[in-house]
Point group: C2
Amino acid sequence: MQNRLTIKDIARLSGVGKSTVSRVLNNESGVSERTRERVEAVMQQHGFSPSRSARAMRGQSDKVVAIIVTRLDSLSENLAVQTMLPVFYEQGYDPIMIESQFSPAMVEEHLGMLQRRNIDGVVLFGFTGIRAEILARWQPSLVLLAREAKGFASVCYDDEGAIQTLMQRLYDRGHRHISYLGVPHHDVTTGQRRHQAWLTFCKQHELATVSALPGLTMKQGYEHVAQVLMPETTALVCATDTLALGASKYLQEQRIESVQLASVGNTPLIKFLHPEIVTVDPGYAEAGRRAASQLIEQINGRSEPQQIVIPATLS
Amino acid sequence: MQNRLTIKDIARLSGVGKSTVSRVLNNESGVSERTRERVEAVMQQHGFSPSRSARAMRGQSDKVVAIIVTRLDSLSENLAVQTMLPVFYEQGYDPIMIESQFSPAMVEEHLGMLQRRNIDGVVLFGFTGIRAEILARWQPSLVLLAREAKGFASVCYDDEGAIQTLMQRLYDRGHRHISYLGVPHHDVTTGQRRHQAWLTFCKQHELATVSALPGLTMKQGYEHVAQVLMPETTALVCATDTLALGASKYLQEQRIESVQLASVGNTPLIKFLHPEIVTVDPGYAEAGRRAASQLIEQINGRSEPQQIVIPATLS
DNA sequence: CTGTTAGCGCGTTCAA
DNA sequence: TTGAACGCGCTAACAG
């Protein structure tokens, strides 16, 4: 708003030229210690901070990144975003948030907007169905979360590991009839991989395979548990804790206490409501941190797009 | 990144001067219909969009606003933010998100950063304990949510109305022993007002007043319900649905089915997990929309800071 | 090592 | 009604 001071002012106040101030500002070499210190002192004293827009105009980067979540109230995505924000802020990036509501059209529209705005980078949460040509332009400055795609940077959870850990734990506790409640295979990670890992474990240990893949809402969990509860079932693995919440509601209502629930994802909500559920932590917090720093590295050209997998830990 | 075209290019391509393009861009008067149409056609055709940073540098506004939530995973705040985002995007504002974690120090620090960045405005969620002199500088471009302060714009929920509605409903259903589980009074809105409204209703109808004000976490709800459950208690009003979730967990565990729960806040989670709970909708969605548009109006100088109250509706 | 100069893309005079 | 010139705050190229 009002007359903020500029490098010109700082220059005048410290008796040097504009460009020297600029050099100090950007930690460039070629400035004597004495001058640098003097200039820095003046900047401190006046609480000077350079105009973002002016820098952006020269440098082609306004230091803004976008985080596109599927839903603001996704428990798991929240945990990742929570650790992501501080990283961005520390590095001077402004993170703007966008909700995709699982709509590819909406994502494409937003990506278009982001491009027109010349945004620096994007973190895109678990998403499929976006046209390749749209995504392609973002290849150097995009990090996918919980999804991977050839040539793109991504941070994924160890779906197989998570399910294996869960199954092994249940198996060790003596369970031999472990049903599965999951997500359809068009969701490659949460859907296909987790289901497949469960199938594999069952095969290896010669267990019967009773499963359903209704989707990822609580309601779907609630409505479809019954399908996978056989008389002999003693445990149920859920692909997500949201599903587990739905399932657990059903079990409570039916007063079924003989079934051990287990799920991927240890959100605070489920830990509180149902501490008896066995969970593995897919590493949401770590995933957020990694995604943010990976994106920043890419933006600065310090790293090529990489595929990162976060190990799951029993919780 | 690469050579985006500028107004200069558009000017050349449409055979006019830069300033004419600028005028068209800003819908200024003083441009003939023919020229305007021609220029607009060229802009359309080349998908031109002006550089944000360049405009910002001239106009002192980069069209960025900040939304400071207490927690990313707050159920109620999520609902408000969800309706807020589209409003900002429609008006060309980039909403950046910040989590305060209920820490006044953190908010002050972030406000400082936002000021250095020359942000246009801030939506600040339910917060007290920030020094007045800090907040003062933001007075023209700040909207408080779920909190009010003299001289500041705010969007609040109708705490009294919500509780009254709830109580009346319970009373009509024949309940005469209605306990209360709430939040300490240092939280003026969710704490004091709701509690006071409950007290008032009880006085008017000569009901006994059994209550506890543990805080606003589920855990606190869970741990303190017992205190307010008398043998004669038939209903329990909770100040927030988070508290209600905690309380309800306790009731389930104790197999207590004789107590009707009621709470302020109809988040999808509680509607699904406990549809039997009587809830009022404080109007989260509407609050988000109003807050966003109020902020934009203020930024553009089209409105003075106002105090808005959203009516509660039975849900 | 440092100051001077020239733009970046846009809005805003001021003449024409 | 329009265009040319200037400057916003900053960085980069070039002098000194």
